[in-house]
Point group: C2
Chain length 203, copies 2
């Protein structure tokens, strides 16, 4: 978009992303972002007019990076079971490297749905192709009948919830042990896919 992709601008964006994702819009402080970017507050306002604008840039970036790929993968041409395996494995892997993104997106979306919903629509998420595929498999007698939207929500829930709910799950299941939780997530790449396929597979 900009030709002058100065180091400053990108380091601001990087710092802002870090702070906003961790603290949320309301909890984030411009001072902290400035510190983390190694500059001062005034420069933040020079590059981005306001906290609002800076946040919007960060949110759009995170949203576009993490959400549409969901449907791109699910709308691909792979056979259904393989698609589910690949998706779950890939998405849990990505989220393991960005564990705070789900909570960030869900929270900000809940609290600014008016302002941010236009972003969602701009991206143009469409689950129709996935739905068609599911219905075709049902008609062919390969899987048990299920509302494709239910299946889609289930897949997303099983991937995302372990991250959004990490703080409490880690305590309840693993006495707050970080390594064990990481191992749990790793096993889950396979286990969650298997759980889904087991449920819909005709036997």
């Amino acid at each position: 978009m900009k030709l002058t992709d100065s180091t400053t601008e990108s380091s601001i964006l990087e710092a802002a992303k870090h702070v906003f994702v961790l603290k949320g819009f309301e909890g984030a402080r411009m001072q902290e972002i400035a510190d983390e970017a190694g500059i001062n507050k005034a420069l933040l306002h020079y590059y981005f007019r306001s906290k609002d604008k800076l946040f919007e840039a960060v949110f759009i970036d995170a949203f576009v990076k993490f959400v549409p790929t969901i449907l791109i993968t699910l709308n691909s041409n792979s056979p259904l079971f393989r698609k589910i395996e690949v998706f779950v494995d890939h998405y849990i892997e990505v989220l393991s490297k960005n564990p705070f993104i789900p909570g960030f997106i869900l929270h900000e979306l809940s609290h600014n749905s008016e302002r941010l919903s236009k972003i969602i629509r701009t991206v143009g998420l469409n689950p129709d192709q996935f739905s068609e595929q599911v219905l075709a498999e049902i008609n062919a007698g390969n899987i048990n009948p299920i509302d494709p939207r239910e299946l889609l929500v289930n897949i997303l829930a099983l991937c995302i919830f372990p991250f959004a709910g990490k703080p409490i799950l880690k305590i309840v299941l693993f006495k707050n042990n970080e390594e064990e939780y990481a191992e749990f997530l790793n096993k889950r790449k396979h286990a969650a896919a298997q759980f889904i396929i087991n449920s819909i597979k005709k036997r």
Copy 2:
């Protein structure tokens, strides 16, 4: 706890709960809580010393009301399949009446895990009895092998995610139509339980 359960105190708590749950700790304003309770800011500080204290009262109340019942139900004596059906139906029903609670608890827990994790431990959540039951069913050859913790997380994920992710799901799946989403959640009480049971049931 207090003998003088004045109307004022309870109306403050009610207003505070409403505002905190909707806006989060950082987003909430004492002024808004005072307005909603029909009093002024000074009285808030008279009853609860600070915003922090008021928040803690609200959070504990919400947490104790919504989280431990999860495990009480799952640790009951019902047979596994019936237990899952009852739990899913009951929990989706409860959350339908308090749709913002999941996001509230998950978000605040993520951002104050140090301060709030003692609350979690105080409540004493223990999934062991549920785990035992699952393992017993596996050994008896009634269900397919599965890590009980995976199963627990899956059940919670399928119930909670549709609420935490409501803003985006409503747009992607139903073009933002509220009634259709409510109907989706209603069908889900049965569909989600069936999805789980299908997956673990030996056939």
